[in-house]
């Protein structure tokens, strides 16, 4: 009886509402329930990064090797992204075609084993993407790769349906056979403005809850660095824009070792600057990417070019960048022993001082479980993909 009375008391005001008001309230409550089920009311960005790759560093007397992965070829060959397959094997993907952002630009791959790179093979072309997504695709752009602990390789790559790079969107696919075949491609939804203009260039960072933090950037009208969080099903579930006032793009994140001022969830991000403010930009997180310090300029000057970085030890960072403010005619390794406060060039990987230099750009750098550092880049005016690998002893021997 009491329950019936309570129900009557609660429903009486509803019964007094007009039919239109009841209908509006009912659909409104349905919408609110759906919205509350769709988005958590509290921030669920994880507090830690994922477990680091098991390292078994082999001490060696100093090793530096350079190889051509692919090329030289006519047309445009660019934006390598690579992962370690373990056991000294590597896998690299890049885009290649007649002209940048032109029709038919496709993703190619090569595998490094037994000391040599395999001939390139086509892995994804615009027709495949169009068929999987059920929508028109004009061209393909930068890939980004990560290898999970269970051996899966997850690839996120740029496509354009109409226009140039500011019309780009991100897509995702997974390989369970070391890059031989790729799952059905899905679209990542990252922007409310026609899902336009989100790109990626650098390695994703695994977070403690199994999701990925993908360094991304927005370039429709304003250039903005972002971190996009993607769940295990390949859905965008969160994002952080690193600045809404400073122009920056192509962030590259390096997780820092605990100690020397860095906590268990600390990382730095280096950003490609614009031609107007040519210093490489940096900011830092101490909570696994949830919040970031304001962007600050480093002493490294670069001609509107991407950078790549790795950690050598506590407060000890290595960066690959194009120096100067003119052409991309050189690629340099610079080292900072004070956590990025000051930098010193330690090696010129490429330095073409001829009147008509061959350009070099888009470094991708990572450290494999055996301790070797791998640097990939587009060279010979974007006709060749090159690979350089070296170890800590070689770095320590640099003057």
């Amino acid at each position: 009886m009491a329950a019936a009375g309570l129900v009557a008391r609660l429903t009486t005001p509803l019964q007094r509402l007009s039919g239109v008001r009841r209908f509006t309230l009912a659909t409104g409550v349905l919408a609110l329930v759906a919205i509350l089920a769709n988005q958590p009311l509290v921030d669920r960005w994880p507090a830690t990064f994922g477990p680091p790759e098991a390292a078994s560093v082999v001490s060696s007397p100093g090793r530096f090797e350079e190889r051509i992965v692919d090329g030289p070829r006519g047309g445009h060959t660019h934006a390598p992204a690579a992962v370690s397959l373990g056991g000294g094997r590597l896998f690299v993907v890049w885009w290649s075609g007649r002209v940048e952002a032109g029709p038919g630009v496709s993703l190619y791959a090569s595998t490094f084993e037994n000391g040599a790179w395999s001939p390139r093979r086509l892995i994804i072309d615009p027709r495949r993407v169009a068929a999987d997504l059920g929508r028109s695709i004009k061209t393909i752009g930068n890939p980004s790769l990560v290898r999970h602990g269970d051996g899966r390789i997850e690839m996120i790559f740029v496509t354009v349906s109409l226009g140039g790079w500011s019309g780009a969107a991100l897509n995702r696919t997974v390989s369970t056979d070391e890059g031989q075949s790729w799952s059905r491609i899905t679209r990542l939804w990252t922007s409310p403005v026609l899902n336009l203009s989100t790109l990626a260039k650098s390695p994703p960072i695994p977070l403690g809850d199994g999701t990925l933090m993908l360094p991304t950037y927005h370039e429709l009208v304003a250039l903005r660095s972002e971190m996009t969080r993607i769940d295990a099903q390949g859905r965008v579930i969160d994002r952080r824009r690193l600045s809404n006032t400073v122009a920056a793009l192509q962030p590259d994140v390096t997780i820092l070792s605990p100690g020397a001022g860095a906590g268990p969830s600390s990382a730095v991000a280096f950003h490609r600057p614009t031609a107007r403010t040519p210093n490489v930009l940096v900011n830092r997180t101490d909570d696994a990417g949830r919040t970031w310090t304001p962007l600050a300029a480093t002493s490294l000057v670069t001609p509107d070019s991407a950078v790549a970085s790795v950690e050598l030890g506590p407060d000890d960072l290595l960066i690959a960048y194009n120096p100067g403010s003119g052409l991309r005619n050189a690629l340099v390794l610079a080292r900072s022993r004070d956590g990025g406060q000051t930098w010193r060039d330690i090696h010129r990987v490429v330095d073409d001082q001829t009147p008509d230099p061959r350009l070099v750009a888009y470094p991708w750098m990572f450290r494999s479980g055996d301790g070797l550092i791998h640097l990939f880049y587009a060279a010979d005016s974007y006709a060749t993909i090159r690979h350089v690998m070296f170890d800590q002893a070689w770095i320590e021997a640099r003057p």
């Binding site: 609110l32 921030d43 929508r135 409310p192 429709l220």
Partner: protein, 192 residues
């Protein structure tokens, strides 16, 4: 989320355009126009694309606002009276866009789009709009709420961001047109 479901939006949009062109010939004209619009969606543009798939590639999947506008237009084209609260609905869609899009393009201090992934701001905003809709008996908003529940509940949009379930660019453009037409009609009342 398959492309098959997403393709509903472009077909509905083409039907809406067709109906609006032939609505001067009455209900039969509107129905004929809608049918022609639907048929246009199947026109192949090249080896892989139809007009509908090209529109999907460029404009993306539809939001609750778009489905609401289609229902409002269908009611109007088939001779029913204008739905109460249409101008208010259009105004809210345009206001949402004014708050969201500049930030999304990097022109504001805060990242408004991120509030569609988590946080209390957008749910609180919607509570206020539901209360306003009940108070004003805004049927158009009731339809929007219904489609919002459907779009989110049945994953009719691939995005998990609530903003994407609520509004999209084509809807904002149409809503702006509805809002302007409504304001013009109020400023220039018909006299008998």
């Amino acid at each position: 989320m398959s492309a098959g479901v997403e393709i509903i939006g472009p077909f509905l949009g083409l039907a809406l355009i067709g109906a609006s062109v032939l609505t001067r010939f009455g209900r039969i004209g509107a129905l004929l126009g809608a049918g022609l619009g639907l048929a246009l969606g199947f026109i192949p543009l090249n080896a892989t694309d139809t007009l509908a798939s090209m529109l999907l590639a460029v404009l993306g999947p539809a939001s609750a606002s778009f489905y609401t506008l289609c229902v409002l237009a269908a009611l109007r084209f088939t001779g029913f009276a204008d739905v109460r609260g249409t101008a208010l609905f259009a105004g809210i869609v345009v206001a949402f866009a004014a708050g969201l899009y500049p930030s999304a393009m990097g022109f504001a201090g805060a990242d408004v789009y991120a509030h569609g992934f988590s946080g209390i701001l957008l749910p609180a905003l919607m509570v206020g709009i539901v209360a306003l809709a009940v108070l004003l008996q805004a049927t158009a908003l009731a339809i929007w709420f219904g489609f919002t529940a459907l779009v989110i509940g049945f994953r009719l949009h691939p995005s998990l961001n609530t903003w994407d379930a609520l509004i999209d660019v084509p809807s904002v453009v149409i809503a702006l047109g509805v809002l302007i037409a409504s304001l013009v009609a109020r400023l220039t009342p018909k006299r008998s």
